[in-house]
C-alpha cells in the first residue's frame, strides 16, 4: 500500500526532464545576470579608481609621453658615445630649462596683456550694463502686462558676487596647486629614470608575461611605442597647421592681440551706431594699410572734430 502511494506521487519522466531543463535555464539566466552585475560593478570601481588616482596616473602617463618626446635626443647622444645616463640627464636638464624659459616668457606676456586689459574691460562692461538695463526695462514692462499689481509683492533678494582676489583664489585652490607642484616636480625625475633605464624597463616588462606569451607581449609593446610616436608626430602636424592658420589670420588682421582690439572696435562701432560717438567705423581700405584699429579710430575721431569745427 505504501509502495503504491510512493509510486503514485512520482511524476512521469518527461515532466521531470522539463523541470530540470527549466531549473537549468533559471540557473543560466541568474549566472548571466550575476556576470553582468559583476562587470557593471567592476566598471564603476575602475572609473572610481581612475578618478581617485588621477594625480599619480596623469603624472606617470605624462612622463611616459615626455620620455617618448625626448628619446630621439638621448639616442643621438648615445650614438655620439655618451653614456646613456649622461645623455638622459643632459636632455632632461635642457628640457627643464626650456620649459622654465617658456613659462617666464608666457608670464611676462600675460602680465603685459593684463596691464592692457582694463581699457577694454571698462568699455565692454559699460556696453553690457547698457544692454542689461534695456533687458531689465523690457522684463519690467512684460511683468507689468502679465501681473495685475506689484504693490503687495515683496522685493526680490539680490545677491552680489564680488570678484575674487588672488590671495582668495590661491587659498581656495591650495590643494590643487600643491598637487600640481608635486606632479611637476616628480615629472623630470620620472622622465630621467625612464630614459636612463629604457632597455631594462622594456625587457623586464616583456618578461612579466609567461614564456608562451612573450612574443605577443614584445609585439604589443613595440606597437604601442610606434603608436605613441605616430601620435606625437600627428600632434606636431596638427599644431603646425593650426599655428600657420592662426598666424595667417592674425597677420591679415594686423595685430597680435587683435581679438580684444576687434571687440573694442566693435563696441565703439556700436557706440557710433547708437549715436553716442559720431565717428564712422574703420574702413576695410585702411585696414589693408596695416594700421591698428585704435589708430584708425583716433584718426576718424580727429577728422570728425575738424569737420564739426
Amino acid at each position: 500500500m505504501q509502495n503504491t502511494e510512493t509510486l503514485g506521487s512520482q511524476q512521469p519522466v518527461p515532466v521531470l526532464i522539463g523541470q530540470a531543463a527549466e531549473e537549468v535555464e533559471v540557473l543560466q539566466a541568474s549566472i548571466k545576470i550575476g556576470t553582468i552585475a559583476q562587470i557593471v560593478i567592476a566598471l564603476i570601481a575602475m572609473i572610481g579608481l581612475l578618478y581617485l588616482l588621477k594625480l599619480v596616473l596623469v603624472t606617470i602617463l605624462v612622463s611616459v609621453l615626455l620620455a617618448y618626446v625626448l628619446e630621439p635626443a638621448v639616442a643621438l647622444l648615445v650614438r655620439w658615445r655618451f653614456p646613456r645616463w649622461l645623455g638622459a640627464s643632459v636632455v632632461v636638464i635642457l628640457a627643464v630649462v626650456l620649459a622654465l624659459g617658456l613659462v617666464y616668457f608666457s608670464y611676462s606676456r600675460a602680465l603685459d596683456f593684463a596691464n592692457e586689459l582694463p581699457q577694454y574691460t571698462s568699455t565692454l562692461r559699460r556696453k553690457v550694463s547698457e544692454v542689461r538695463a534695456r533687458a531689465d526695462t523690457l522684463a519690467n514692462q512684460a511683468r507689468s502686462v502679465v501681473e495685475a499689481s506689484k504693490d503687495h509683492q515683496k522685493p526680490l533678494p539680490v545677491r552680489i558676487d564680488h570678484p575674487q582676489g588672488v590671495v582668495q583664489v590661491i587659498s581656495e585652490n591650495s590643494g590643487t596647486i600643491l598637487d600640481m607642484l608635486m606632479a611637476v616636480s616628480f615629472t623630470p625625475f620620472l622622465v630621467y629614470f625612464m630614459l636612463a633605464s629604457k632597455e631594462h624597463v622594456y625587457v623586464s616588462t616583456v618578461r612579466l608575461f609567461p614564456k608562451e606569451h612573450r612574443l605577443v607581449a614584445h609585439r604589443t609593446v613595440g606597437n604601442i611605442s610606434n603608436m605613441i610616436r605616430s601620435f606625437l608626430l600627428a600632434n606636431v602636424a596638427v599644431g603646425l597647421v593650426s599655428g600657420i592658420i592662426s598666424g595667417i589670420v592674425f597677420w591679415r588682421l594686423g595685430h597680435p592681440v587683435l581679438l580684444l582690439h576687434r571687440c573694442d572696435q566693435r563696441v565703439r562701432n556700436l557706440d557710433s551706431l547708437s549715436g553716442d560717438v559720431s565717428c564712422p567705423p574703420a574702413t576695410a581700405r585702411r585696414r589693408r594699410r596695416h594700421l591698428t584699429p585704435r589708430c584708425d579710430h583716433r584718426r576718424d575721431r580727429d577728422r570728425c572734430r575738424n569737420s564739426s569745427r
Binding site: 581612475l50 588621477k54 596623469v58 609585439r219 604589443t220 600632434n235 596638427v238
Partner: protein
Amino acid sequence: MNLIYPRVIGSRLKLNALAVSLSLLFWAWIWGAPGLILAIPIIGALKIICDHVDPLRGFGSWLGE
C-alpha cells in the same frame, strides 16, 4: 578643431573617429585637461592590446577604422 583633430589623429593611428571622440569625452570627464592630452594614447594602447588578445579582438576591430 573638434571635427578635424579626431579624423587626422584617428587616421594616423588607425582609430575610428567616433572612438577617438568618445575617448576624448570620457577622459576629459574623468581627468579634465590632462585627460584630453592622454585620451588618444590610452585608446590607441587599448586598441593594440585588444588586437593581440583573442577574446577582445572584436572590440579592437570596432575601435579601428
